[in-house]
């Protein structure tokens, strides 16, 4: 992925006369590329920094946050328990709107979970070095988001104590799962995605465990890291196979990431419900997932970048690139919304036409309208280069996108279901406090796991960033490094 030797700098075209204006021109600053590593750093210093982050006593605010989030998580789990004990009548689901908050949250969290894979894997395939510093945390976001996501269908199947019924195992009833059902595709997709994400995450951690195993002070960590590193020694032969495996995994996981949210979208799109049956759903859901995932990662880094003194490794340029991606994805989302609306009209199917008008002008007009505002209009702020580096703006936009993507799923699920083909069955949907408590609980569980990760684990893939640092040390001038080469 990286070469030890580096490209010679391109001919410096500073102060060149152009035939057009005739005035002396300087080399445009926007073409200059900032280095991916900044400040005084070295391979060893990065190691120490990452080790210290996982060993130092966390600040008081971390404990406060942990107490709050774990309480929220407990409230959520208690609500789930109450709901199972008392029955699903405690939630807002009803007969036209059979899929309520639980499925909204499931799709939402699966979407957030795509961040890690897309950042870590697709950018790897495109040889975007800027992924190196953020990939580990992004992968953690994936794993934790999937922990939350998997809870919802498990609860929603109605009898969560029979989870094995979701899998095709030989049984005395001679029954098999129905492979023609998109919901079974979902089981395969989500289970595969979760196990592959965990494995991919662990694979990336092995060299880091190896580098930390003897340097952490805590004896428990020494033993755990030592065991988890499997006796890794960094032999060139090991790296050879390791990188090959990484590349193969990247290729396969890209396909996986595309397929998982496509399959989630097919839960909706293979039906005939107006507003659900849209052939654009698979790619549109994948883009939506990436969109919310990138926004989630921006939120995480906007908070921890300065708080954990990561500025040298996660530079303003990283945030700039992340925000550019958010902007790009926002435009693709706008295209998808436009196509949905247009095709609903173009289909000349009166139900489709009605349901899409209803998204924006109906009884719950705010859901559709806010979705469009948060996902398509607000991120347009990021066209301004200054805003892409401004923490308040990026927090505003990313929080807006996260909320907007949740509302999008609300719009798709609730607003489509509550107005179906038969006006006689039209109904309405009112979430109950239990619904909100379960949503809050999933946020709590996610943040609790994330907080623990940030203070207990190597949060930067040091072996990947080390090559950036080595490159930076060999070519400290910055400027025209071949970032994509």
């Amino acid at each position: 992925m990286y070469r030890a030797t580096e490209l010679p700098p391109a001919p410096a075209p500073a102060r060149r006369r152009t035939s057009r204006g005739g005035a002396p021109q300087t080399f445009p600053s926007s073409l200059r590329v900032e280095p991916l590593v900044q400040g005084d750093t070295s391979l060893g210093k990065l190691d120490d920094h990452v080790r210290d982050l996982s060993e130092a006593k966390p600040p008081r605010s971390w404990y406060v946050a942990l107490v709050i989030t774990s309480l929220a998580g407990l409230v959520g789990l208690a609500s789930v328990g109450f709901m199972i004990y008392e029955g699903i009548g405690t939630m807002g689901n009803n007969v036209p709107v059979v899929w309520g908050f639980l499925i909204i949250n499931f799709v939402f969290w699966v979407g957030i979970g795509h961040a890690g894979t897309l950042i870590s894997v697709i950018l790897y395939l495109f040889r975007q070095k800027w992924r190196n510093a953020i990939s580990r945390t992004a992968e953690a976001v994936t794993v934790f988001a999937f922990v939350c996501a998997m809870m919802f269908p498990a609860v929603h199947v109605g009898r969560p104590w029979l989870p094995h019924w979701l899998f095709p195992y030989p049984n005395e009833r001679g029954l098999w799962v129905n492979f023609r059902s998109p919901l079974i595709w979902d089981v395969f997709a989500v289970v595969t995605y979760f196990s592959v994400s965990v494995m991919f995450w662990y694979l990336g951690l092995i060299p880091d465990f190896a580098s930390l195993r003897s340097r952490v002070k805590s004896r428990v960590k020494r033993a755990v890291f030592g065991f988890m590193s499997l006796g890794w020694v960094g032999n060139a032969r090991q790296w050879l196979h390791y990188e090959k495996a990484y590349l193969l995994l990247a290729g396969l996981t890209t396909t996986l990431a595309l397929s998982v949210h496509s399959i989630v979208s097919m839960d909706f799109a293979s039906s005939m419900v107006p507003g659900w049956h849209m052939t654009i759903f698979p790619p549109y859901f994948v883009v939506g997932a990436a969109f919310s995932g990138f926004a989630g990662v921006v939120l995480v880094f906007a908070f921890i970048r300065t708080a954990m003194r990561l500025e040298n490794y996660i530079t303003e340029r990283h945030m700039d690139l992340l925000n550019k991606t958010v902007l790009f994805l926002s435009c693709v989302m706008a295209y998808a919304y436009l196509m949905e609306g247009f095709t609903a009209w173009f289909s000349s199917n009166t139900f489709d036409r009605y349901i899409f008008a209803n998204y924006v002008f109906g009884d719950q007009w705010w859901a559709g309208s806010l979705t469009i505002f948060f996902n398509c209009i607000l991120p347009q702020l990021l066209w301004v280069p200054r805003f892409r580096r401004s923490v308040p703006i990026m927090v505003l936009v990313s929080a807006g996108v996260t909320l907007g993507m949740w509302l999008e799923r609300y719009t798709i699920i609730v607003l489509s279901l509550h107005r179906d083909y038969l006006p006689a069955t039209w109904g309405t949907y009112l979430p109950t406090p239990i619904d909100f408590a379960i949503l809050l609980g999933s946020v709590g569980i996610f943040l609790t796991l994330l907080l623990l990760f940030l203070r207990k684990m190597p949060i930067i893939a040091t072996w990947e960033v080390k090559s950036d640092i080595a490159h930076h040390q060999a070519h400290p001038s910055g400027g025209l490094e071949a970032e994509h080469a």
């Binding site: 005395e172 020694v233 032969r237 390791y242 040390q473």
Partner: protein
């Protein structure tokens, strides 16, 4: 006794230094080299003439296998083992099987890539690696680049190796000893067989336990536990003290026909079969016969069903001349009232079905004793 020698190690500050040192050391005749780096350094595999990784081939084979077996599995369960008609799709509606097949392929492929890399190609975990006991290992995984000269077939000239590494710019030269226990261990393949065997045993017992335990475990009693009155339950609401109330006197079911329902009292001599001989009647008769009668009388009416050997009473042979000569009414009477050890079927088979069964029995008799003109 001296510990066997693992090799001579030198550290280099940067990857470039290491890459420059390799050909120099090689020039001095040391060819068995190993490099250790904190991150993957490119160009080092060519410098050391490392063969390309064959992992891709393994992953391709396994992933293809995964795809094919998943597809066959879906085809088999959905069309052969448990054909289920859903959404008006053909049994082998292959487009629906592509998504799970894709997931199965990726699952097998990714796990082959990761586990194959770790266990097959890199032979990890390996905590007995002599390098782990070297002084330099912590610096290697942190920031330094190491070159190790391993002994060849004829041993290693330690002094020459140290000199060569020094000349190439190596620092912190260290002679790494191989601990003896690393030699005495089992061969890797026996470990692998042991590990796979153990995994199979654990997986087998685990699966058996899950399959045996879970389907019969019911933490929730589900809908059985709900406020309701069972048929025989007592209840204080009504004066009768019963949960279920008796019908008022004189109530009859809608299709009730007293004589025909219970069976006539006179041996049925006066009764005629009211049903015509049609395909649908015979078909109905066959269904009912196979459900109620065939278990004793056999599907052909021979009376030699599987009960024959285990049950003392000998079911009547419906092909016998006695039955053949008996009137339809008589057979109706027997079905309704029972005969010898055969119980009464009035409560189980509706009058029309009884007549249909008789029509069917007549057809069975004809089938076993067909006159020549039927065959022609």
């Amino acid at each position: 006794m001296l510990e066997p020698l693992f090799g001579v190690l030198a550290l280099f500050p940067t990857a470039d230094d290491l890459l420059k040192a390799i050909p120099e050391v090689k020039k001095r005749g040391f060819t068995k080299l190993e490099a250790y780096t904190p991150y993957p350094v490119h160009g080092i595999d060519e410098a050391l003439d490392l063969p390309k990784s064959k992992l891709g081939v393994l992953v391709f084979l396994m992933a293809s296998l995964g795809a094919i077996s998943m597809f066959l599995f879906e085809w088999w369960t959905s069309t052969v083992s448990y054909p289920l008609l859903t959404a008006g799709k053909a049994y082998n509606g292959w487009p629906a099987w592509v998504p799970p097949m894709l997931e199965g392929t990726i699952l097998v492929g990714t796990f082959t890539a990761a586990l194959g890399m770790l266990f097959v190609f890199n032979r990890l975990p390996f905590f007995g690696n002599p390098m782990l006991r070297s002084k330099a290992i912590d610096r290697i995984t942190r920031e330094k680049f190491a070159l190790v000269i391993r002994p060849g077939a004829g041993g290693l000239d330690t002094g020459g190796a140290i000199a060569a590494l020094k000349a190439a710019g190596g620092e912190d030269i260290e002679v790494v000893q191989a601990p003896r226990y690393s030699k005495a261990g089992l061969a890797w393949w026996s470990k692998a067989i042991g590990a796979v065997g153990a995994a199979c045993v654990v997986a087998g017992y685990g699966t058996a336990w899950v399959i045996r335990t879970f389907p019969t475990t019911r933490p929730m009693v589900e809908m059985e536990d709900q406020p309701r009155l069972d048929a025989q339950a007592a209840d204080t609401f009504f004066a009768s003290g019963r949960g279920m109330q008796l019908p008022p006197d004189g109530t009859v079911p809608r299709t009730f026909m007293p004589i025909l329902a219970a069976g006539p009292g006179d041996g049925g001599k006066a009764l005629m079969n009211p049903l015509p001989v049609t395909d649908s009647v015979l078909e109905r008769g066959r269904t009912q016969f196979d459900i109620h009668c065939a278990v004793c009388h056999d599907r052909l009416g021979t009376g030699k069903a599987w009960l024959d050997s285990t049950y003392k009473a000998q079911p009547t042979d419906l092909q016998s001349s006695t039955v053949r000569d008996a009137s339809d009414g008589y057979l109706y009477w027997v079905i309704s009232r029972g005969f010898a050890s055969m119980p009464a079927y009035a409560a189980d088979i509706s009058p029309d079905d009884r007549w249909a069964i008789i029509r069917y029995v007549r057809a069975l008799q004809r089938s076993q004793d067909a006159p020549m003109r039927d065959v022609k």
